[in-house]
Structure formats: C-alpha cells, structure tokens
C-alpha cells in the first residue's frame, strides 16, 4: 500500500515531465553546453583526452542532476501544491522516495544522452566497458539523488532556492564525485577492474546511509 503511494508520487512527477519536458530539455541542454565548453577547454590535451573524460562526464552529470532536483520541487511551488502533499495522511518519507525515484530516472536518462554525446565529441569507442559503466553510473546517481532530494527540499524553502542547492549539495556529494570519477577512470583507462570494489562499496554505503537519513528527516524539511 505504501509502495502504491510512492509509485503515485513518482508517476505524477513523471507525467508532468513527459507532458512539459521542461526538466529533461534543460538538463540535456546544460549537459551539452558543459561538454562543448570542456572540449574547448581541453584542446591542449586532445591526444590524451580519454584521461579527462571521467571528470568531464561527472561534472556534466552533477550539473544536470542539480537542475533536475531543482525542478522537482519547483513544480510543487506553483499553486502551492506542496500544501496538498502535506495534508495527505502519509509518512513524509513516502513523498521523499517518490521524488527521489523521479529525480534518479531523470538524471539517468540525461546521463545516457550525455554519455553518448561524449563518445561522439571525444571520439571514443567503448564496448566491454559498458556494463561496468552502467553500474557505476547507477550507483553514483542513486547516491547523488539520495541526499540531493533532501537538500533540494531544504533549498526550496529558502530565499535563494535554486542558487542555494549547488552550494550546499556539492560539498556533501564530494565522496560520490571522487569515487565515481575514479571508478569511471579505472573502467575506461585500465584493464584490472578488481580495484572497482572499493569505490563501489563507498558509493553504496553513501547511498544507503543518506537515503535512510533523508527518509527519516524529510518531514523536518518539507514545509511550506
């Protein structure tokens, strides 16, 4: 029954997005902008650019992800829809999970497109690396949105809203960024993948710790 409500919240955000495509367009476009800028910025190291790709990817992912998170709460500000959610007899954690799911899906879709574009812009070929990359992308994204959804709710309640989110989110997700970039680099540029166990473990721990904390504390931050 609770699962049904989480699904209802998720489905509602997905439905709105599919109809307007506001978030996804912005996220994708921003990701492309980041890629192009980095292309110019890294011209001097064009020969060894494959080494820079992990960092570029995750910067693009993080910015796109932040945009998506902002939008997920911005939609509730219109017509004060948040008030409706607050009046429902459910654990606030249910709302958290529904929104986190939506944010994760949006971010993963953007990551897919950004990654394909990266292959094109940076002239890369990947084949056997793909399943490992998918794994790292998924775990990293879940960690990012686990704490991002909570902090987006915090930022939405302040005077600075969208501007505040990156400022408070990026320091907190440093472990995700460090480990995800390292893991991506290991996959793309080395052959021994056994080392992947360490970053994947840290990212998984991060995701579990912060989804639990966010679920428990969401009611304290979700206010009009």
């Amino acid at each position: 029954m609770m699962l049904g409500k989480i699904w209802a919240v998720f489905r509602k955000d997905l439905l709105i997005e599919l109809r307007t495509k506001d978030s996804l367009n912005a996220m994708l476009f921003f990701g492309v902008v980041v890629l192009v800028v980095f292309n110019f910025a890294l011209e001097a190291v064009r020969d060894s650019i494959r080494a820079a790709v992990p960092g570029v990817l995750w910067v693009a992912f993080a910015f796109a992800g932040t945009l998506g998170l902002n939008r997920i709460f911005a939609a509730e500000k219109d017509n004060n829809c948040l008030q409706g959610l607050l009046m429902i007899p459910v654990d606030r954690g249910v709302i958290y999970l529904g929104k986190m799911l939506a944010a994760t899906v949006f971010m993963l879709v953007s990551e897919g497109v950004i990654f394909v574009l990266t292959l094109v812009f940076f002239n890369l070929t990947v084949w056997r690396e793909v399943p490992y990359l998918v794994l790292v992308f998924c775990v990293g994204t879940v960690g990012f949105t686990a704490v991002g959804t909570l902090l987006a709710a915090v930022a939405a309640n302040t005077r600075m809203r969208e501007v505040l989110l990156p400022l408070i989110l990026f320091p907190v997700v440093v472990p995700i960024l460090i480990n995800a970039v390292e893991a991506t680099a290991i996959i793309l540029n080395t052959v021994d993948y056994r080392v992947l166990r360490q970053p994947l473990t840290i990212m998984t721990v991060f995701a579990i710790v912060f989804s639990t904390l966010s679920y428990l504390f969401f009611e304290y931050v979700l206010e009009e």
């Binding site: 704490v147 909570l150 902090l151 915090v154 309640n157 302040t158 005077r159 600075m160 505040l164 400022l167 408070i168 990026f170 320091p171 907190v172 440093v174 472990p175 460090i178 480990n179 390292e182 360490q198 970053p199 840290i202 721990v205 991060f206 710790v209 912060f210 904390l213 504390f217 304290y220 931050v221 206010e223």
Partner: protein, 229 residues
C-alpha cells in the same frame, strides 16, 4: 530574563586562555626543539594540527547540539549549534591558511592535495554550507530545524569524505610527505598548544552562544513590547 553578561566562569576561562596563548607561543617557539629536516618552519605544526583537531571537536559539538535541538526543541541547543559551527569554520580557516604557509617553503607548492588538507577543505565547505543554510532561512524556528538536519547530514558525510579522499590519494600517490611523527621532546609543546586551542574553542563557543541568547531575549522583549503597545 537571564543575565547573559560575562559571568565569573567565563571571565576566568578567558583569562586562562589569554595566559595559555602566551605560554603556547613560548613553548612552540622557544622550548620545543628544532626539527631536523625542516627547521623552524616545522613549528607551524603546533598551530596547524591543534586547530584541525579542535575544529573537529567543534563540529562534533555542532552535531550533538543539532540532535539535542531536534529532540528537546530548546533554543539554547540551536544557539550552541550555531556557535560551534562558526568557531569550527574559523578554526578550519586557520588550518587552510597555515597549510600553504607551511607547504610553500617546504615543498615549493602552495597547496598539497594531502588527505589532511583536502579533507579540511571539504569539511570547511560543509560547514560554510551549514552557515549558508542558516543565512537564507528567515523564520527562526524553521531555520533551527533545517540547519539541524543539514548538520546531521554533514556529520554523517565527514567520515565518508575522509575515506574517499584517503583512497583517492592512495590511487594517486604524491611525493610530498607531511610530518606526522613527534619526537618525545616535542610532546609538551604540542600538548600545551592543543589544550589552549580547546580552551579557546570552548570560550568562544560559550560567548557566541550567549550572544545568540541575547538576540532571542531581544525578540521576546520586542514581542511583549508590541503586546502592551
């Protein structure tokens, strides 16, 4: 209304800190022996490291105060959380400034991405973010609640940050070596400096929290003034 002026305890503490600082300077510069490889430059260690340890203690206070606020909802805990975060940021600023002062002459770079320095930077950012959250929420009750949640997130994040940076550094080892070891002759100076920093932190947190208390009292006074108007 509670008298928030400097009571006897704080006055004595303040005097002890002042005296302690003089003693610490004496110990660090005159009593402690000269280090073999880096010479007098190494004496920064007596301020750089205690500032870091004390900063961590301040953040631990911030965590406890935030949890206590969520449990008890007493304004005093929120004041303590704010005070300890501000003092912690100050202490970590000292770490981040003394780091380059040490690094440049020692290793010819302004910044070493050592685990300690890098973690200090991220922790500093985390608690500046805490202060930002406080700055941009207008209502005092909501501000206390939201920043308490952020404080808990930040504190849970800190160990994960430390491990991540450590592992990252292991992947990309650096030739620069930071002194970790202390010879027995150095211990007295280090211990005194560490103790003085801790006392300084406690003194500043107490006074800052008292200032917040005064603000809170002022709000109440304004409210009752409005009532009788």
């Amino acid at each position: 209304m509670k008298d928030r002026g400097e009571g006897t305890f704080d006055a004595v503490l303040g005097a002890a800190v002042a005296a302690g600082m003089v003693l610490a300077l004496y110990m660090a510069f005159l009593v402690a022996p000269r280090e073999r490889t880096m010479g007098d430059l190494q004496r920064i260690f007596y301020f750089h490291v205690p500032a870091g340890i004390t900063g961590l203690t301040a953040f631990a206070f911030n965590f406890v105060a935030s949890v206590m606020f969520l449990v008890r909802r007493k304004h005093r805990w929120d004041a303590l959380a704010l005070a300890s975060a501000e003092v912690g940021v100050m202490l970590f600023s000292i770490v981040l400034v003394t780091g380059p002062i040490w690094a440049k002459p020692a290793w010819f770079v302004w910044w070493t991405w050592s685990p300690r320095l890098t973690s200090s930077l991220v922790l500093w950012m985390l608690y500046v973010a805490y202060l930002l959250v406080r700055n941009y929420v207008s209502d005092p009750e909501r501000r206390a609640q939201m920043s308490a949640v952020f404080a808990i997130v930040a504190f849970a994040d800190a160990p994960i940050v430390w491990f991540s940076i450590r592992w990252w550094r292991d992947q990309h080892p650096s030739p620069m070596l930071e002194t970790g070891g202390l010879s027995p002759a150095m211990w007295p100076a280090f211990a005194i400096c560490w103790a003085v920093f801790q006392l300084l932190m406690i003194y500043l947190v107490r006074r800052r929290a008292a200032l917040e208390g005064v603000r809170h009292d002022l709000d109440e006074l304004m409210r009752s003034a409005e009532r009788s108007a």
